[in-house]
């Protein structure tokens, strides 16, 4: 089995004003290619820390993260930046689009940081925008879009570099239930096409769409189970 990401004895320790905080106390798990994992946990459980580490935004204090077989824990800031641009697709709760750019330009941004942008890449941007359902919105600015549409732009942006996995941090936290269903069905479709998705959430409704649920508690992995009665958004939503 090929793994999208392998996490080995991951620890993260913060030193705040002489106080030592153990955010992660040794977490080990693998995410096989094509998996759909929901990471759950209350606030303070180490969820955000794990997300930052998986998103290559931070380095662990101990342990390793193997991305496509190579360890990210010893990489320089520039090398981590390159991984973020080329191997990981991140989706945020607050969409985090760049306000002064159009939809299409927003999708393009990671391409510049990876290297040259070819006409082929441009075509792919448009394809992705259409694929997530942004027909007729390509030249709009984020301000002119609804929350659900903005999140679709973010999904398209996360896919532009063909990442090893998509990391989604509470992607439906700001959305109403109908739009939530739409976004989740988009994820499901992507997962059915073979994309690996790691989703961080605290809502059971959301996590039940995944194939597998991991629950963090006090910096440790408290639960890691497959979902038996998986809910399908595709069945309920027509998008």
């Amino acid at each position: 089995m090929k793994f999208a990401v392998q996490v080995e004895d991951l620890k993260k320790i913060y030193h705040l004003k002489g106080e030592t905080v153990y955010a992660l106390r040794g977490v080990t798990f693998n995410v096989p290619e094509g998996d759909y994992v929901a990471i759950m946990g209350t606030s303070g459980s180490g969820k955000s820390t794990l997300l930052n580490l998986l998103g290559c935004l931070d380095r662990p204090s101990h342990g390793s993260i193997l991305l496509g077989g190579s360890d990210t824990s010893k990489l320089s800031d520039d090398e981590l930046s390159y991984l973020r641009a080329s191997r990981v697709g991140i989706i945020f709760q607050a969409y985090n689009l760049i306000q002064q750019l159009t939809v299409l330009e927003n999708i393009e941004v990671p391409l510049y940081y990876r290297g040259k942008v070819s006409p082929e890449d441009r075509r792919r941007c448009k394809e992705l925008a259409l694929m997530v359902g942004l027909q007729g919105r390509l030249d709009h600015r984020p301000m002119q879009l609804s929350g659900g549409q903005q999140q679709r732009v973010a999904v398209a942006r996360s896919l532009i570099n063909n990442p090893d996995y998509i990391l989604a941090d509470e992607p439906t936290g700001n959305l109403d239930s109908k739009t939530t269903e739409e976004i989740l069905s988009l994820f499901e479709r992507l997962n059915n096409e073979g994309r690996t998705i790691i989703l961080v959430t605290h809502e059971d409704d959301v996590s039940e769409h995944a194939r597998r649920v991991m629950r963090l508690s006090d910096g440790e992995l408290a639960e890691d189970r497959l979902i038996v009665n998986r809910r399908s958004a595709l069945a309920t939503s027509a998008s």
Partner: protein, 446 residues
């Protein structure tokens, strides 16, 4: 450099806050324009001073009669002879071997008339060499000749303004003008000539365009040494043989021999030491003045440069201030860009490009503003002349007539400095942006 996309993005970001960007550019604009203006005006003033001094002739030494103070002038008859004499002229001519030519000059204020038209001007008695030594240029006819000098002929050469006032468009050559009791036949007309400098206390500025030149021998014969001037009901007289002797120093192989000129000037001062007690002459050495003016010019340049540097510094601080505000405001955007793959140097680049765009636009418009210096100064002068003529009359010549001289090298220098200012003052905000922790930046409210 950096790729076109980064520049486009930079311009776009700046256009998001047009007013803010405009004000920032204004800082650099003022800096660059003031560099060019200050240098141009300084250059204009010093060039004018140099021109005026050179007008006296760098290879010449001028000895002028100076009217002694009034209390020294109260002899029984009320009139005391003073100033240079014909003996002085012969003394200088005969005894100093490095003197090439000694040109005596006698000037009297007179009214010139032709028919009903009349004007006041200077009647100048001189020799034929005068034209060459003071660089007079003939418009038509000829300057005074040796034959006219020795023949004491009643001939004259008119300066430009005299010609225009008395003759209009008519050809004056061969016609006569009337000065007091005498008639003089016009033999030549001069081109207009710029006034010379008023130099310290030793020499007042001279206006040449109202002159009428006649052979000095004729003047001595017709007018004599004693001149009576009517002044507020009483007559005032003075006895003076020569107003000025212009001495031309011999040149070595056609080049200006600076030490020889300075040495000869000392000999001349020594030769005329018998005037020391009366203090009725002054020796003017244009070359010395030229040296002084060069030093003044250099000081002026340094001073102007300093002021300009300060204004550019202020402009730079303006850029830094705005960019720091921008970085704070765009923390969120920086976080997003970092999270989706921007390296630190990508962020540095992005912000640096913005400061460079600001400073380059400021620099370019500043250069345009700087080039407007000459017409703007003309406009200002025109305005003041029309609305407050008294003010302009009060100003000294050198300021009233100044023409800014744009120094070409100041343009690229100002531009390069503005770009450097943009980079230097942009680096700190850009680094601050790049060193933000992406996780923290993403949490920011903006």
């Amino acid at each position: 450099m950096f790729g076109i996309r980064v520049w486009i993005l930079g311009v776009k970001s700046l256009l998001l806050h047009p007013m803010r960007s405009l004000l920032t550019i204004l800082g650099i604009f003022i800096g660059v324009a003031s560099v060019i203006w200050l240098v141009a005006i300084g250059e204009g003033i010093s060039l004018k001073a140099q021109e005026q001094i050179e007008g006296l002739g760098a290879e010449n030494v001028l000895v002028r009669s100076v009217k002694p103070p009034a209390e020294a002038n109260t002899s029984a008859r009320g009139i005391t002879p003073y100033g240079l004499t014909r003996d002085d002229l012969h003394l200088l001519e005969e005894t100093i071997p490095t003197v090439d030519q000694a040109i005596p000059i006698r000037e009297i204020r007179r009214e010139f008339s032709r028919g009903p038209v009349s004007m006041f001007g200077r009647l100048v008695g001189c020799t034929p060499e005068y034209a060459e030594v003071t660089r007079l240029q003939i418009q038509s006819g000829h300057f005074l000749s040796d034959a006219e000098l020795s023949g004491r002929d009643n001939v004259c050469v008119l300066a430009a303004e005299v010609t225009e006032r008395l003759f209009g468009f008519a050809n004056p050559i061969g016609k006569k003008i009337h000065v007091e009791a005498d008639y003089y036949t016009v033999v030549g007309v001069l081109k207009p000539r710029a006034a010379t400098a008023a130099i310290g206390g030793s020499m007042s500025g001279q206006e040449f365009n109202k002159d009428v030149y006649i052979p000095i021998s004729t003047l001595w014969q017709r007018v004599g040494d004693q001149v009576m001037t009517r002044r507020s009901g009483s007559f005032e007289g003075e006895i003076i043989e020569l107003n000025q002797i212009t001495l031309r120093i011999k040149k070595k192989t056609g080049l200006l021999d600076v030490p020889a000129v300075l040495a000869t000037a000392d000999v001349i001062r020594a030769s005329l030491s018998h005037h020391d007690r009366a203090k009725d002459i002054s020796v003017v050495v244009p070359l010395e003045l030229l040296e002084q003016s060069r030093q003044t010019r250099l000081m002026f340049m340094v001073f102007m440069g300093l002021i300009a540097a300060i204004s550019l510094l202020v402009g730079g601080i303006g850029i830094m201030n705005i960019m720091l505000a921008t970085v704070t405001e765009r923390t969120r955007e920086i976080g997003i860009r970092r999270a989706i793959g921007a390296k630190r140097r990508d962020i540095v680049r992005q912000f640096l490009v913005e400061t460079i765009v600001l400073s380059v636009v400021g620099g370019l418009t500043g250069i345009l503003g700087g080039l407007c210096c000459v017409p703007a100064v003309d406009l200002m002068r025109w305005g003041v002349e029309n609305y407050d003529p008294e003010l302009i009359a009060m100003l000294p010549d050198s300021i009233r007539d100044v023409r800014p001289q744009i120094v070409l090298i100041s343009i690229p220098i100002a531009f390069v400095i503005s770009v450097i200012v943009g980079i230097v003052f942009g680096i700190y905000p850009a680094h601050r942006a790049a060193n933000l922790d992406p996780i923290e930046a993403l949490r920011s409210a903006n």
